[in-house]
């Protein structure tokens, strides 16, 4: 009989052999040889890590306990491979074009590179995978136990097997999973090793099956008879459970981190999927071929109470076929180890990339980015993560006591990782899916999974107290973990899958629809959903320094020449290169993209870099996203422009005000100078003649004459001061109007009397009594002042031989119009604009007056609400006064 010692030796030899194969494969891959490494067959076989120890041993147990239901575990993936071939290809294409490193990376990348999402997916993946790793350790331990003699001592040594297995797997995984920190995260050695293990486990199961059918039962017919007789044929098949299980295994096939690792990350060539689409279902069919016969024969031959999970091992042992038993053991060992290795690699990538590294980078304040030890830290993080993940599985195994409860863990874990499905698939087909939708879906799905399936799986009273099962959380009956919303009476697994997946999908859709994708999400969504439209047939990484040069030119345009140069040189030094151009590695590109997006926005930076490195041609969606950003930038700059326009306007207004002030100042200077002149001129005469008078010795007529001059000039001064004060009052608006009523004729009469009365004159005034008979209600004194001025002007300036002033009045609809027209030569055209200005005496000196008269008239008419203007082309000087009718 094979002892555990022999078994351990076989294990070690087997592992060393795998080690050698993996090492050789890695070497061949590095040297560019070994095309066989990249064959579709290897890819297909690597997919077989779907079949873990749980399927190797457990399928038989499953069949022995629940009949044909075990088929669903193989049916789901087969349906996915055949029916969803197109979706798988899309996932693989996206994974390659986006350089996806894990399922967490995939989901976070799709939703705007959200690290929060990546962290969530990573944590959930670890929670979902840890029991599964424990399950593998348990199966190895149990299979060891099957060989060891019963007894407490043997049992203890078998228990300690688990820790050795765990340690060995950790070492193996670290050696081949983290030998290099490849950009594409591919592990040729590991893949070839698990492909080999896939062959071993298939051969082992087929060998056991053939032995059981032909060796133990003596032929196919006898076996079929036995099956018909066994309870397997009688098991009732529940439709809902079948549907749920098929759906679950299909979802898990797509969402399990380890499946994603081999299917997407390790994929060498999209075309391999074409082969895998038929070859993998065939593999599954072969591996499940003898499950029912072994179960049926096991139920018959094995003593009641023996573990049906170990029929595969115990049937050969029972028949004394130690060699076959060891092969069977190796098959199970292969299943367990390949699963743990790939799961550990996948999870460690996620944990180190999305949790450890961001924390470390933040803790070191980004200083490490500038030094060269990022790579070392990343490797260390990866290695520690592998150890952590495997040890977590070991701890779970030890704490759970290694009981048979673990058998149910497989489906529970499936249901857990299946929660990724809505976010993953939704992100591939629906551009409107948003980060918040994905977070909401994942959160709801996982919460329900934990509450309805994971915690109850430990049994009532272990974690969830019994009363929660009976009366619901907080005593709310609709919150019973296995009868949510009063949907009691269902199979607990179906119940949990229905509610968690249903509400997960609903939350994902509703939150996505209600929200709005950010530009990065929009861009990534377009890249994912339309991956076939704008990704070239993916080749391996072909970046070169030429691309770096283009990138540098682009970066210089955005960041400025000196800064870009410095950044590139620093990046090159970090990569250990001399010179100023770094290799366009994904890390560098990602880093550059981040830097540039600070200046031009994430979508733009991404599109520009993609364009240069040929990762993807820029699609319409990219451009739209870019346009969105550009529009935002333009809006911002137009706001700036508006502001600067406003400033220009303000400046112009200031300039205008300043000009006006300057003008006013000039006018004031001019006015003062005029006033000075008007005052000094009469004062000169007065002073000169008063001195002459004082000197004495004048003839009486001279005395008389000079005294008269002094008197006249004094009057002139007085008049000037009166006018100035009058004008000042009028201009400042402080004038008090004294409204009276009367006819126009009365005002004109007063004006004529005041002008003509005192001094004899030759001026004749022609009046129009008919037109003047209009009642006015205005300040009559002020109006008379205007008329007096106009009549006085005519008297002073009309140069006709028989000076005549015609006063015509006309009552219009809105106003009363009074024209004063004389028969002189009038005012020269060039002076017409000036006559209402102060001191504009037009060079005429023979009449007294300071030249303020018309300026005063204009102010008065303005105050009375009317106008006074010069009427050109009337022969002589002509003025028109208008008054609003309301006032009349």
């Amino acid at each position: 009989m094979a002892t555990p010692g022999i078994l351990a030796a076989v294990c070690i030899i087997y592992v060393v052999f795998l080690f050698a194969v993996a090492f050789a494969a890695d070497r061949a891959a590095r040297r560019g040889r070994g095309a066989w490494l990249r064959s579709p067959l290897v890819y297909t076989l690597s997919l077989s890590i779907y079949c873990t120890a749980w399927t190797f041993y457990g399928a038989v147990g499953f069949a022995a306990r629940s009949g044909m239901e075990y088929v669903t575990i193989y049916l789901g993936p087969s349906l996915v491979m055949i029916g969803w071939w197109w979706t798988l290809r899309k996932m693989v294409r996206v994974g390659r074009s986006q350089r996806i490193t894990s399922i967490a990376d995939m989901i976070s990348s799709r939703y705007g590179k959200s690290n929060l999402l990546a962290v969530c997916v990573t944590i959930l993946a670890v929670i979902g995978t840890t029991p599964y790793i424990a399950l593998q350790l348990q199966s190895v331990t149990l299979s060891f136990a099957a060989f060891s003699p019963p007894g407490p001592e043997g049992g203890r040594s078998v228990q300690s097997i688990a820790i050795y297995v765990a340690l060995g797997l950790t070492v193996f995984t670290i050696l081949f999973g983290t030998r290099n920190l490849d950009a594409n995260e591919r592990h040729h050695g590991v893949v070839i090793a698990i492909a080999l293990e896939a062959v071993v486990k298939l051969l082992a199961l087929l060998a056991v099956g053939i032995f059981v059918v032909w060796g133990l039962e003596g032929g196919l017919a006898a076996t079929l008879e036995r099956i018909d007789a066994s309870p397997i044929g009688d098991f009732d098949v529940s439709g809902s459970r079948w549907t749920a299980l098929t759906l679950l295994s299909a979802a898990a096939f797509l969402c399990l981190p380890r499946m994603f690792q081999v299917m997407v990350v390790e994929n060498e060539d999209e075309g391999h999927l074409r082969t895998a689409a038929w070859a993998f279902p065939l593999y599954l069919m072969l591996i499940s071929l003898f499950v029912v016969p072994i179960a049926a024969v096991g139920l018959e031959l094995m003593p009641t109470g023996s573990n049906p999970d170990l029929y595969v091992l115990n049937l050969p042992l029972l028949a004394g076929q130690d060699g076959l038993a060891i092969l069977s053991f190796l098959g199970g060992f292969s299943s367990a180890t390949s699963m743990v290795i790939v799961a550990a690699i996948a999870l460690s990538t996620m944990v180190s990339n999305h949790i450890v590294m961001p924390i470390w980078l933040r803790a070191t304040g980004g200083a490490a980015m500038m030094s060269g030890d990022v790579r070392q830290v990343a490797l260390l993080a990866r290695r520690l993560s592998i150890g952590g993940v495997v040890m977590l599985g070991y701890l779970y195994f030890r704490l759970s006591g290694g009981g048979t409860a673990l058998a149910a863990i497989g489906l529970v874990a499936f249901a857990g990782v299946a929660q990724f499905l809505p976010a993953l698939m939704g992100g591939l087909v629906w551009r409107g899916a948003t980060r918040n939708g994905a977070l909401a879906g994942l959160g709801v799905g996982f919460a329900l999974w934990v509450y309805c399936l994971f915690l109850p799986s430990f049994g009532a009273g272990v974690i969830l107290p019994q009363h929660v099962f009976d009366a619901g959380l907080f005593g709310l009956t609709w919150l019973r973990p296995q009868a949510l919303f009063w949907t009691g009476g269902m199979d607990p697994l179906v119940h949990a899958v229905m509610w968690s997946m249903g509400l997960n999908t609903a939350a994902f859709c509703i939150v996505s629809i209600l929200g709005f994708p950010r530009p990065v999400e929009r861009l990534q969504g377009a890249q994912f959903v339309n991956v076939f439209d704008h990704s070239q047939s993916p080749g391996s990484w072909t970046g070169g320094l030429g691309q770096s040069e283009d990138l540098l030119i682009m970066a210089q345009r955005i960041m400025g020449a000196a800064e870009a140069q410095e950044l590139f040189t620093r990046a090159a030094r970090r990569q250990g290169l001399s010179g100023y151009l770094p290799e366009p590695s994904p890390e560098f590109l990602e880093w550059l993209e981040r830097r540039l997006s600070g200046s031009v926005g994430a979508a733009t930076a991404h599109a520009m870099i993609s364009q240069i490195v040929g990762r993807a041609t820029v699609s319409v969606e990219d451009l739209l996203a870019v346009a969105d950003e550009t529009a935002q930038i333009m809006e911002y700059s137009s706001q700036l422009e508006a502001k600067s326009n406003e400033q220009a306007r303000t400046a112009r207004q200031l300039r205008e005000v300043n000009e006006k002030l300057t003008q006013i100042s000039v006018q004031k200077d001019g006015f003062l100078s005029q006033v000075s002149h008007e005052l000094r001129t009469p004062m000169t005469s007065i002073r000169a003649f008063s001195e002459i008078l004082r000197d004495g010795g004048l003839a009486p007529d001279e005395l008389q004459k000079y005294a008269t001059i002094i008197h006249g000039e004094s009057l002139r001064l007085t008049r000037l001061l009166d006018d100035l004060l009058d004008l000042s009052v009028l201009e400042s608006g402080q004038v008090v109007l004294n409204a009276q009523t009367g006819t126009l004729a009365e005002v004109l009469d007063r004006a004529v009397a005041a002008t003509m009365g005192s001094v004899p004159t030759s001026l004749r005034i022609l009046r129009d009594p008919g037109g003047e008979d209009v009642r006015l209600s205005t300040d009559m004194d002020r109006l008379a002042q205007v008329f007096i001025n106009l009549i006085a002007n005519a008297r002073k300036y009309c140069d006709a031989p028989a000076p005549t002033l015609e006063v015509r009045a006309e009552v219009g609809e809105a106003e009363v119009v009074i024209d004063f027209v004389d028969n002189g030569t009038g005012i020269p055209l060039k002076d017409e604009a000036l006559i209402f200005e102060k001191f504009s005496r037009l060079g005429q000196t023979r009449a007294p007056g300071a030249g303020l008269g018309l300026a005063i008239c204009r102010e008065i008419m303005h105050r009375l609400g009317g106008t006074i203007s010069y009427l050109p082309g009337q022969g002589g000087a002509a003025f028109r006064v208008t008054l609003p009718h309301e006032a009349g």
Binding site: R680, T681, M683, I686, R687, A688, F689, I692, I709, T845
Partner: protein, 123 residues
């Protein structure tokens, strides 16, 4: 022999006052009112001194002074400029235009007499 003084001014009362003062002091006084035809009056008979008002209708005193100064024959004639505006700017312009002296109205009779004696006596 008594000097010839030409007064160019637009205020009749001021012409009369200056004429009286200068005549009493023994000067031969000619007068011209306003800017128009003033140059002809200047050329008509050589004067020992021209008294010129700045604010003349039609033609400013500065323009007239420039004409006098640019005349080959009469260019050296002393010119006493009078202004009623009393601004420093006028004084500067007068000096630039070549005025021999500049007086602001109103002035005392003694002042103008002294100025005339000084300017016409030097000529």
């Amino acid at each position: 022999m008594a000097g010839q003084v030409l007064i160019i001014e637009d205020e009749p009362n001021i012409i009369e006052a200056i004429s009286f003062i200068l005549s009493r002091d023994g000067w031969h006084v000619r007068t011209h009112s306003g800017g128009e035809g003033a140059m002809a009056a200047v050329r008509e008979r050589r004067a020992d001194l021209i008294i010129l008002d700045v604010m003349l209708p039609h033609r400013s005193g500065f323009e007239l002074l420039a004409d006098i100064r640019s005349d080959a024959d009469l260019g050296q004639t002393p010119v006493l400029m009078l202004t009623a505006r009393g601004q420093r700017k006028d004084r500067e312009m007068a000096e630039r235009a070549g005025a021999s002296r500049f007086m602001t109205k109103p002035f005392s009779n003694a002042e103008i007499l002294e100025a005339v004696r000084a300017l016409a006596g030097a000529a």
